[in-house]
């Protein structure tokens, strides 16, 4: 029952002028984000000024932006008919359901609601339902809502509640532009000056203008001669009106010189030609103004040109202007990628403020710092590999070989202190070696904090854009997302976006994702969709490698027996192994003695009472006795062994 959208009626074919710019802008906005901006959008104008065209253009644009949207265009009459038909068939509810599922409802000619009480209440219900569901409604009428006779007060306030815009009759320049476009569409060619003459005629609406154009096209086709500006007037019967209001001095002069005679006619003719010739530059400037204004740029500079008497370097000025606009466009595009919000600034629409725009862009460029990258303290080479973490490491290597394609996402799970963070950062570092790589590697807590401050600073767009540019996203401790709904939402979107673009995602978690609580199902299922690789308790090989590396870093000469002893001791994580070593080293330092297996045994198996002699609050390796007297867990300690302390960061939350 509803009409299909006429493909001819799109924004591309809509000629924008001063009289309808607001309506068109509103239409664009609505089409880009249905239901978000002006709801309902109410457009009114006299007949034949492009309401239906604009309405359909909104439909097309919305469909193009989101092909899945359910868009329905219909005139009020069709709506009424559909309603009556369904009521007659006893399907009134089906009718309502049908329209309540529409995402963008376009209703034409609403003024016919007059004297249709039942339709008014039906439309009121529908408007309320759609608005509540965040669906877009666009209506057109030939008059504003309060002027529609006999319209329900509630409906008036509903319809006026969004944005009510009108479209006026097009001005001369717009009329010329419309005629040119239509003539082009029809493949009709006219001599210069013909369309301008047609446009000079006062018309009430665009349809009349089309009628005049049609007559010319027909005349030209029948007579097989081209029409000139003079014959146009005869064909369209404009000559009589011309007499009433002589537009130019030339023609006035012609009238004075005793119209009708040959010289008078000649003079009139020449006047037209001269007028076109000397004013041609004005027309060019006018067209340029219209064009750039239509695209939303400020055109003061060009308008100033029109104030002058002589053309001067008009074309240079227009070219320079166009160049500036191009530059602005480039800047805006660049900025839009970095910070969509900043791109909306008016400086990017005013060629007079190009330098300001450059500055603004530079500022955004500075601010558009890449997201936090991996820490350089965790090179992949330093990661100790053994049977216990072989699976995870080879998965990581495979992911590095073909980032984003092999295991995406890669989820590293394992208990605390097994080197997840190390491996995560190591992957990040490797990925960051690539050309143009932007690797976002950070803890989930930092991710959440950043989002919160972005929301606080009203810079979420910027924040999103920053991560969307990332060629890889690595998040540590994904379980911290629990209960953070907004972050999960953002991560979900980011996740999909990055995965679609084959960008590598790596996460760490203390346990298998499906055992984590507080995570949304959609996130969990996505995490499981890649590879979940587990790191187990360190085996002897790993422990040995870690100990050797740490001791070498310390400059200590590791005694084979010490390493054997330590790596044979049961530990559940690398971190506790490091802790043990710390205590031994600390004890050795306190005694000023050598590092030996014996000392280690003494320290670790509780034969040493030396530690308790430490003054309270004394910070050292090993145990710390706090000033409050309580003994903190080894894992919560700040080591003054800086290098190792770096590795403990994640435990200090």
């Amino acid at each position: 029952m509803t009409s299909a959208l006429n493909p001819k009626y799109s924004f591309d074919t809509f000629v924008v002028g001063a009289a309808n710019r607001l309506a068109v802008t509103a239409g664009h906005t609505v089409a880009e984000s249905p239901g978000a901006a002006y709801n309902p959008l109410f457009i009114y104008s006299g007949s034949g000024l492009g309401k239906t065209h604009l309405l359909m253009a909104v439909g097309h644009a919305a469909k193009k932006a989101a092909p899945k949207l359910n868009i329905e265009y219909l005139t009020l009459d069709e709506y009424v008919e559909a309603f009556h038909a369904s009521v007659a068939a006893g399907q009134g509810d089906a009718f309502r359901r049908r329209f309540q599922n529409v995402d963008v409802l376009l209703v034409d000619d609403v003024q016919f609601l007059t004297n249709r009480k039942e339709m008014q209440s039906e439309l009121l219900r529908l408007t309320e339902a759609l608005q509540a569901a965040g669906r877009q409604i666009v209506l057109t009428s030939d008059r504003p809502p309060p002027d529609i006779a006999d319209l329900d007060e509630r409906l008036i306030s509903r319809l006026s509640g969004g944005l009510v815009v009108d479209m006026g009759t097009p001005d001369y320049e717009t009329r010329v532009a419309i005629l040119r476009r239509k003539a082009e569409e029809r493949g009709a060619r006219f001599e210069p000056g013909v369309l301008e003459t047609v446009a000079q005629a006062e018309v009430a609406n665009v349809r009349e203008l089309m009628g005049a154009l049609n007559r010319l096209v027909a005349f030209q086709a029948v007579n097989d001669t081209s029409i000139n500006a003079e014959t146009v007037k005869q064909i369209l019967g404009l000559a009589a009106r011309e007499g009433e209001a002589p537009p130019g001095d030339g023609r006035a002069a012609a009238a004075k010189s005793g119209g009708g005679d040959e010289f008078g006619e000649f003079l009139a003719d020449v006047a037209v030609t001269v007028g076109k010739a000397v004013e041609a530059w004005r027309a060019r400037v006018g067209e340029a103004v219209l064009r750039w204004e239509g695209e939303g740029y400020r055109t003061h500079r060009l308008e100033a040109l029109l104030q002058r008497d002589a053309p001067g370097a008009v074309d240079e000025a227009i070219t320079a202007f166009a160049g500036d606009v191009e530059r602005l466009k480039a800047l805006e595009a660049e900025v839009a990628e970095l910070d969509p919000q900043a791109a909306g600034q008016s400086v990017f629409r005013d060629p007079e403020r190009l330098s300001e725009a450059e500055e603004a862009a530079a500022k955004v460029r500075e601010g558009g710092a890449p997201p936090p990258g991996p820490s350089a303290a965790f090179p992949l080479a330093a990661f100790a590999v053994g049977p216990s973490n072989q699976v995870a490491v080879s998965a990581a290597r495979a992911a590095l070989e073909r980032p984003g394609k092999k295991y995406n996402p890669l989820v590293l799970v394992g208990k605390s202190g097994l080197g997840k963070t190390h491996l995560l950062n190591a992957i990040g570092l490797e990925l960051a070696r690539g050309k143009r790589a932007v690797v976002a590697c950070l803890s989930t807590q930092a991710f959440i904090d950043e989002l919160i401050s972005a929301i606080d600073g009203n810079r979420v767009d910027w924040w999103q854009a920053r991560y969307r540019r990332a060629t890889a996203l690595l998040l540590d401790d994904i379980h911290l997302l629990a209960g953070k709904e907004r972050t999960q939402e953002e991560l979900f979107n980011l996740f999909n976006l990055l995965q679609d673009k084959d960008r590598q995602l790596v996460f760490t978690a203390p346990a298998h994702p499906n055992t984590l609580t507080g995570l949304e199902e959609r996130i969990v299922s996505r995490l499981e969709g890649g590879l979940v690789a587990e790191l187990k308790e360190p085996d002897r090989d790993v422990k040995r490698a870690v100990l050797e590396r740490l001791l070498t870093q310390q400059g200590a000469n590791p005694e084979a027996a010490l390493i054997d002893y330590l790596s044979d001791r049961p530990t559940d994580s690398v971190r506790s192994l490091v802790g043990m070593l710390q205590r031994v080293v600390g004890a050795a330092a306190a005694q000023d003695g050598p590092l030996s297996a014996g000392l280690a045994r003494e320290v670790l198996e509780g034969q040493s009472a030396r530690d308790t002699r430490r003054s309270s609050g004394f910070r050292t390796s090993g145990l710390v006795v706090s000033s409050l007297g309580g003994i903190k867990s080894r894992e919560k300690v700040v080591w003054d062994w800086a290098d190792v302390a770096d590795r403990m960061i994640e435990e200090f939350r």
Binding site: G248, D249, E262, F263, F266, A277, V278
Partner: protein, 199 residues
């Protein structure tokens, strides 16, 4: 030569009527002179021989008044058609913005027409002007003569109008086609003027 002067807001067009002797160039000017109101025309200068042949040139300035804020002047010239006045012709042709070639429609004058047209081309070339770029219209005069004596405009077009420029049949003595021709050339000249300022 500046056709359009934006500082003084003046437009000046020099239009030259060219063609073989006795084809009716001066008659064209006389007819125009007779139709222009006194206030708008300057004195027509005619230098003629005893037998009323143009010796040097005819000159008719017409003031078209203010058009779009420009005071517009047309200067109409004729050249002497006789072959031996070529130096004069060349001189008159200097700085012309447009040329009206007045041809004699009589069949026996066809060769003279062709010769004069070739002469126009070579004289323009002397001034460094390509006949293909200067605004030019053809007028086939004396179309009022008996059919058997003259060629039809179509035949003349075939014979003379190689470049398919606008052509007008005329009877300059009675004024038929005179202003049409003038309109035709003015339009071309002014169009060129528009193109000139656009560049």
């Amino acid at each position: 030569m500046s056709l359009v002067n934006f500082t003084t807001r003046e437009i000046t067009c020099k239009i030259v009527y060219y063609g073989p002797g006795r084809s009716g160039k001066t008659t064209n000017l006389h007819y125009i002179y007779g139709r222009v109101p006194d206030s708008r025309r300057g004195r027509m200068v005619s230098l003629a021989t005893q037998t009323d042949r143009t010796l040097f040139f005819d000159f008719l300035p017409i003031d078209l008044g203010q058009i779009s804020g420009f005071s517009t002047r047309f200067q109409l010239y004729t050249v002497p058609g006789q072959v031996y006045y070529n130096a004069t012709r060349r001189l008159v042709l200097q700085g012309a913005d447009g040329v009206v070639f007045v041809g004699d429609s009589q069949a026996r004058q066809l060769d003279e027409n062709l010769e004069s047209l070739q002469n126009l081309q070579s004289n323009l070339l002397e001034h460094g002007v390509d006949i293909r770029t200067i605004p030019l219209v053809l007028q086939y005069n004396k179309q009022d003569l008996p059919r058997e004596l003259i060629l039809s405009p179509a035949d003349l077009d075939d014979a003379l109008n190689f470049r398919s420029v606008p052509s007008f049949s005329a009877d300059a003595l009675h004024g038929k086609g005179v202003f049409e021709t003038l309109k035709g050339i003015s339009e071309l000249v002014l169009k060129k003027l528009a193109a000139g300022t656009a560049a």
